[in-house]
């Protein structure tokens, strides 16, 4: 290599970097008065280059989009972590990652599912709702009639045999993890195929909605003709092993699980709109359209009055939850309109964003959504639309009821008043989070109680401090120097020497919270909560530490005062009982309220949807006044897509479009 060439190369590299760093010329800002002469409902893109202030009338002639003007091609989705299995037994077992779910979730049918947007509980493979639970001998039973004519991708019909096979295999092999959550062995005894399209569930004790409708009835169903041999192979490991010999039986079960989880899944038929055809490890997963999918062309309508309607022309019609007429909130027809789904693996969100901008992928799947900066970057790029949806979860501050004074209701209430969620979300986090006042997020419309009191919402700092002092005093707390609002300084004159109702000094306590490296939002919130508590003399100290340390201390060792963590939630709010029933393993704060326990037991056993809703509202009310948790905020899910390339039937939905796996069976690709 000659010296001149090398020099030239070096200069070129530097020049290239400088060029790359140069910002795009921004057009001059134009102040424009636009008079619109009529209401225009269609968005029309217009490029206006103006160099001076102008006044003009825009007359917009909407160009009708031709019906069905979409292209049939693969739907390219970006993901950030590779699959760890394609075996559905393993996916529902120890490999239940969200990334596996994006692919395998497209293939697993179930008897019942959720409706779009509103999350009503609706039949899927089932022809209608199940028969009411009734006692039959030692069992509680319910029967489900299935739709006829639904097939696996290999042409075999999906029958009651498949349902009974899946349920019984999970129970007999004592499969754990999500299998146990779906077919809970404490409740479900077995399932039986009464005839080809009728399946009967047998329960050991009366199950509530959580265990039946939102549990077993929504569990995955696998094809018996494909998996029967693998299940038999696994069962052989248990043959001749005495279940009373705990050690030997445990080992045999482990062996059986290994056999099932590692059974080859290549060529498995799908019961969904798409089926996995190729997994190129580390690169992409291809799922091709299931030409035998029976729900092709399904028409879905949701009404403002809460009614739900669906039909497949020439096959069936279904209407539930009210009169299927009136104002419509959602109306669309299911495809699939794409030939296949390609899940492309990218190493980072940055790399995927570039691929999205370069039109290498159509949409990004990420359970956490886009980072705010990246969403803004895409919005500024012009041709992307950013969708902001609430996530089904919250970050919260929890109290340890076994430590004084966290067990004092007025103390917890005072803490709740002192925490200014609007200030945290709007001022500190610059709108990157939304304040949360209830344990059931507003987006979970059916179960959300709108009448739950929102403590502290809209109060000024002065009002918060006064309210907190008043509450603490009413519970018998005293100060050497009482905190007061100083109107001149517009700040609190801090309190000193806070004493417990028994007169002893208030001990210093710790608020465990994740460090800024793990979650800057929670770390910021913790620091401000410490400051606000200190202002009224509460000697709190935020301890920002590793996530694993918090989990270990809170969930394993029980060595903590208060903690800040977050939960991702299920749609059916039985987590209210999981978190706060006195005998629940997740009630790590040891909240103990017999009245609440009683109501929870009734709620968990309830089989009527309307009654369960009323009970859930009551539970929310109790918790909002008892405050075992102070909910803080939730980070909305931000997602972006190019509307000129991708069209979704709807974009407003709890947990975002990713929650529906990117809607591959309904999406239309325009380019």
């Amino acid at each position: 290599m000659s010296r001149k060439r090398l020099l030239l190369l070096a200069i070129l590299v530097i020049a290239a970097m400088v060029l790359a760093a140069c910002p795009k010329p921004t057009p001059e800002k134009v102040v424009e008065t636009v008079v619109v002469t009529k209401e225009v409902k269609q968005v029309v893109k217009e490029t206006v280059v103006v160099t001076k202030e102008v006044e003009k009338t825009v007359v917009v002639t909407p160009t009708p989009t031709p019906e069905g003007a979409y292209v049939e091609r693969p739907y390219r989705l970006a993901i950030f972590e590779d699959l760890t299995t394609t075996n559905p037994w393993s996916y529902y077992g120890p490999n239940s990652t969200v990334w596996n779910g994006y692919v395998i979730g497209l293939m697993l049918p179930s008897l019942y599912g959720y409706s779009d947007q509103r999350f009503d509980w609706i039949p899927s493979l089932a022809a209608d709702f199940p028969t009411p639970l009734e006692q039959e001998g030692d069992y509680w039973v319910s029967t489900v009639k299935m739709k006829e004519g639904v097939k696996w991708s290999d042409g075999e019909p999906i029958t009651a045999e498949d349902v009974a096979f899946t349920v019984n295999a999970a129970l007999q092999l004592k499969l754990t993890d999500n299998w146990e959550a779906a077919y809970d062995p404490e409740y479900v005894d077995h399932a039986e195929a009464v005839d080809t399209y009728t399946v009967k569930f047998y329960f050991k004790k009366k199950p509530g909605l959580a265990r039946w409708q939102f549990g077993a009835a929504m569990g995955p169903i696998l094809p018996k003709h494909f998996w029967a041999s693998a299940v038999e192979e696994a069962k052989k490991k248990l043959e001749g092993v005495d279940p009373n010999d705990e050690e030997a039986y445990k080992k045999a079960l482990e062996e059986a699980h290994k056999v099932l989880y590692t059974a080859p899944a290549d060529g498995q038929p799908t019961g969904g709109a798409f089926g996995l055809t190729k997994w190129e490890k580390g690169a992409f997963v291809q799922s091709d359209r299931n030409e035998n999918w029976a729900f092709k062309g399904q028409h879905v309508v949701e009404y403002k009055n809460g009614a739900y309607y669906e039909e497949v022309p020439g096959w069936y019609e279904f209407c539930a939850y009210g009169d299927c007429s009136g104002d419509v909130t959602l109306d669309y027809t299911v495809g699939p309109y794409v030939t296949s789904v390609l899940h492309n693996l990218y190493g980072s969100q940055d790399a995927a964003i570039l691929a999205l901008q370069k039109d290498e992928v159509d949409f990004m799947l990420n359970p956490l959504g886009l980072q705010v900066g990246l969403a803004q970057q895409l919005e500024q790029a012009g041709n992307f639309r950013v969708v902001r949806n609430p996530s089904n979860g919250f970050r919260y501050l929890g109290f340890n009821f076994e430590r004084h004074p966290q067990d004092v209701k007025e103390f917890r209430e005072a803490v709740a008043y002192l925490i200014d969620k609007e200030f945290i979300t709007q001022r500190l986090l610059q709108g990157a989070a939304l304040p949360v006042y209830t344990l059931v997020p507003e987006g979970n419309g059916y179960w959300f109680n709108p009448d739950v009191p929102k403590i502290g919402q809209g109060l000024s700092r002065e009002e918060r401090v006064n309210k907190a002092v008043e509450l603490l005093k009413s519970a018998g707390f005293t100060w050497d120097k009482e905190p007061k609002w100083d109107p001149d300084k517009k700040a609190v004159d801090p309190g000193e020497g806070l004493k417990l109702p028994d007169g002893s000094p208030m001990p210093e306590f710790e608020i465990l919270a994740p460090s800024a490296g793990y979650d800057p939002m929670r770390a910021t919130a913790a620091i401000w909560i410490e400051k606000w508590l200190n202002e009224v003399g509460i000697p709190a100290k935020a301890n920002l530490t590793g996530f694993n340390v918090i989990v270990q201390k809170v969930f394993v060792e029980g060595d903590f005062d208060m903690w800040i963590l977050g939960w991702g939630l299920s749609l059916y709010p039985d987590y209210l009982c999981d978190f706060f029933m006195s005998d629940s393993g997740y009630n790590v704060g040891h909240y103990n309220n017999p009245e609440f326990d009683k109501k929870c037991s009734a709620f968990l056993e309830e089989t009527d949807m309307e009654k369960a809703r009323e009970q859930a509202f009551e539970l929310q009310e109790i918790l909002s006044t008892e405050l075992p948790y102070v909910t803080l905020f939730t980070a909305p899910i931000l997602e972006a897509y190019n509307p000129e390339v991708v069209q979704f039937p709807y974009t407003e939905t709890l947990d975002g479009i990713q929650n529906w796996n990117g809607m591959p069976s309904a999406v239309k690709l325009m380019k």
């Binding site: 010296r3 090398l6 690169a283 693996l345 270990q552």
Partner: protein, 383 residues
């Protein structure tokens, strides 16, 4: 010599044992365990996390886990990955290693070649604009913030100018219906590289026997023959277009890695060469009236090559690790990403497996470097 090698092997085994022990307990010292991840799923019955802990052996005390791990390791069993349960660790390493080897071996060799060539020129033509420009550019790139630089490269060459893909190692739409996997192609590429290298070395040794006017071209000829030998088996192979697709995806990460790291070799070569040039035998060579190019390439550069070769051998050993940043930025799922994810997710068997490979290769590289020294420098003899 044999005794020396045997002694070094024993030392390597002891060092490796200590390395394994230290790594195991360092990983173990992380707070929490993987089963805690399941504690955050309220839909999961509480005893399921406990059962998982038992299945993964996390309920045993650390020393028992360590003994079990070492026993398994010595019998060739690296255990089962927690995050890919119940997939064996060795399977995962076998899957990820070829991709990393192809990318990082190629990048390391190119980077060393560029660095060595430039280092030679720098040492020989000191004080000019070329030296300043190359050194400034080289050191700037050497110290640049790698993720930013990689993103800039992608943004400029892939997004703005659309010359290369934005990342990944294959084009999914092209590979949709292939009857073979990408790893099959990677393995074939590795064997091609080995085959081409062997042919090139053999050809070089042969061409060196040619009379002087032709001997001058022996290096180029050997390279040419090596490339021909490597290309011929691909001509009618159905894998050829897919290998080209991989090569196309490799250009940008290799260019990035080369630009980031060539300066290290360049400066090492320059310094080594400057010291060699002060030797008496260089003066003697010049006094004999040999052309400058011959003095530089045949006399000075060969001696100066010693530390550079050692550095190359170590770099090749660490190429197995890949690079977390490069692999993340270019969506190249090799050993680097595997190691990172294993550590972050507390997948101790997988992290240990990846570390073990790195440790073993690093120690063997040390031995190879020692032996290579003795071969390259006749003044060094081990007893």
């Amino acid at each position: 010599m044999t005794r020396y090698v045997l002694r070094r092997l024993v030392q390597i085994i002891i060092t490796f044992f200590l390395f394994q022990t230290l790594t195991f307990f360092l990983l173990y010292a992380q707070p929490g365990d993987i089963a805690n991840q399941y504690l955050l799923n309220p839909n999961l019955p509480p005893d399921a996390a406990e059962q998982l802990r038992k299945e993964l052996g996390l309920d045993k005390p650390p020393h028992l886990q360590y003994i079990q791990y070492m026993k398994n390791f010595l019998t060739g069993n690296l255990g089962v990955s927690f995050t890919n349960y119940p997939r064996p660790v060795i399977d995962i390493i076998k899957e990820r290693l070829p991709r990393t080897l192809v990318l990082f071996f190629t990048a390391t060799v190119i980077s060393f070649y560029v660095g060595f060539a430039l280092g030679k020129l720098l040492a020989w033509k000191r004080g000019g604009l070329f030296e300043y420009a190359t050194t400034v550019v080289g050191v700037t790139l050497y110290t640049v913030f790698t993720p930013w630089f990689a993103l800039m490269m992608i943004w400029l060459f892939a997004y703005k100018w659309n010359l290369f893909p934005t990342g990944k190692f294959i084009t999914p739409t092209l590979w949709r219906n292939t009857p073979f996997t990408a790893n099959d192609v990677f393995l074939r590429m590795i064997w091609t590289g080995v085959w081409g290298g062997v042919v090139a070395v053999a050809a070089y040794l042969l061409f060196r026997r040619l009379p002087p006017p032709y001997r001058f071209f022996s290096g180029f000829l050997a390279l040419f023959v090596g490339i021909i030998a490597a290309v011929i088996p691909w001509i009618h192979s159905p894998m050829a277009r897919y290998a080209l697709d991989i090569l196309w995806h490799m250009i940008l990460p290799i260019a990035t890695l080369t630009l980031i790291s060539f300066a290290g070799t360049m400066l090492l070569t320059r310094n080594s060469l400057l010291e060699t040039m002060r030797e008496d035998y260089i003066l003697a060579a010049r006094a004999k009236g040999l052309p400058e190019k011959v003095v530089r390439d045949k006399h000075a550069a060969r001696t100066a090559l010693l530390p550079v070769v050692t550095s190359l051998v170590f770099s090749l050993a660490f190429a197995i690790d890949g690079g977390v940043i490069t692999e993340t930025m270019f969506s190249w799922p090799g050993m680097g990403l595997t190691l990172l994810n294993a550590v972050v997710q507390e997948d101790i068997p997988l992290a240990m497996g990846a570390f073990s490979f790195t440790g073993m290769l690093a120690l063997l590289a040390h031995l190879a470097a020692d032996l290579l020294y003795a071969y390259l420098d006749p003044r060094i003899r081990y007893s």
